[in-house]
Symmetry: C2
Subunit: 239 residues, 2 copies
């Protein structure tokens, strides 16, 4: 079965967490909205159609046969066990999902640093508020989240968040580190000294053959200032 992934075609965004899982699984999928205007309008039609039985609130959503599944973490909940990216037992699956939801919380906070007032307005129209929010994010929130994942890695002690095998939240934590490095290189440079296990996990994921091939391909959209992780130097910590 060929999956259909529906997501905005010009950004990594939340869709990237799904793309990484599909790529590591070597799953057969088409990134629908990246197939030109027809793909984009297919996505918008599905969002507005009266005939979709279980409508999504927004992208990303995944078509799998007749199923249409939305919400990033929910898509991964579906894909994980089907592709060897989730633990076999229920307690492990719940913990994997718990970690994924914690990643989602961090991602939301990182997004909101450049949109503290409204996602409808341009960054330039809320820059003053963004400049006030950024030091809070970088001094308190990101260290708290990343410190938590570092502790989880330490507790397992086997390199991955859930022990000795890669699961989908590992891929997502990789993506968070990459995004934070892009957006806040100075802050991350300092923080990473206290995150040896997280950095090692990032390296492990980046080196996996399928992920390495994906990152080197045109399928990987570069980071940019339309996505979640944006590099606005004035929001990073001072030199």
């Amino acid at each position: 079965m060929r999956y259909r992934l529906y997501y905005w075609p010009t950004i990594q965004g939340r869709g990237e967490f799904v793309r990484l899982a599909l790529e590591e699984a070597a799953a057969d999928y088409v990134d629908v909205a990246r197939r030109g205007a027809a793909g984009m309008s297919a996505m918008l039609r599905l969002m507005e159609s009266e005939r979709v039985e279980r409508p999504p609130f927004g992208p990303p959503f995944l078509g799998a046969g007749k199923l249409l599944i939305a919400q990033t973490a929910n898509i991964l909940l579906f894909l994980g066990p089907r592709h060897g990216l989730a633990p076999a037992k229920e307690e492990g699956r719940l913990f994997a999902h718990q970690l994924q939801l914690t990643v989602a919380d961090l991602v939301q906070e990182v997004h909101d640093v450049h949109h503290p007032i409204s996602s409808r307005l341009y960054y330039e129209d809320q820059r003053r508020e963004a400049k006030r929010r950024a030091p809070e994010l970088l001094a308190h929130r990101v260290p708290k989240f990343l410190g938590y994942f570092e502790r989880v890695l330490a507790r397992g002690g086997k390199g991955f968040l859930l022990g000795g095998r890669l699961t989908y939240p590992d891929l997502s934590l990789f993506q968070v580190v990459e995004g934070l490095r892009y957006a806040f290189p100075r802050a991350m440079g300092r923080m990473e000294r206290r995150l040896p296990r997280t950095v090692a996990l990032r390296d492990e994921v980046a080196g996996r053959p399928r992920i390495a091939a994906y990152l080197a391909s045109e399928r990987r959209i570069p980071f940019n200032e339309m996505g979640i992780f944006r590099h606005y130097p004035e929001l990073d910590v001072p030199r």
Copy 2:
């Protein structure tokens, strides 16, 4: 088995979505941190203990035998099928969870309206930014979210989000309506005219015997200005 719910003892907050499910299920549970100082310190100990195999990032979390499960939506994912609050089939369960995650997104946006800069600072220290964010929330975001749930109710056409039977996201949507009515009575008064199905669902949930008994009990913490839904009149729409 008696569940142990760990959540801040003075607010409804995110814990309330779990409490409502436990109450509707007539589940045996103890609201640990509401049992005085010993309960509160038991909660904090669990958050910091080195011996917890699968640590939570924060409350709420649920103890179920040896399991400790965090993240509100994840707790409901666990409880739903065990207590007749989730559909039997996988596609229904995924959609219930998708709706719950969409509720969680709305709840986060509602929280952030009074904390647009940082959850560490007092509201009074970010009131200017809050006043700028509130009209965006009430004119665009809340109508978009509630309009989505109204459409889902219309599509099913049987009174509940997933058709003819109550599932856990119905309880959560009830809580969202109650919270928004408390926080923004003027804005909600106007919006509800276009949300007949959502209001009917709210009434249906409020009238269920176990929920009605819960709401009338001391176990239901009143809304207040420490929780997610806060009534600051200056953030509501003008008269």
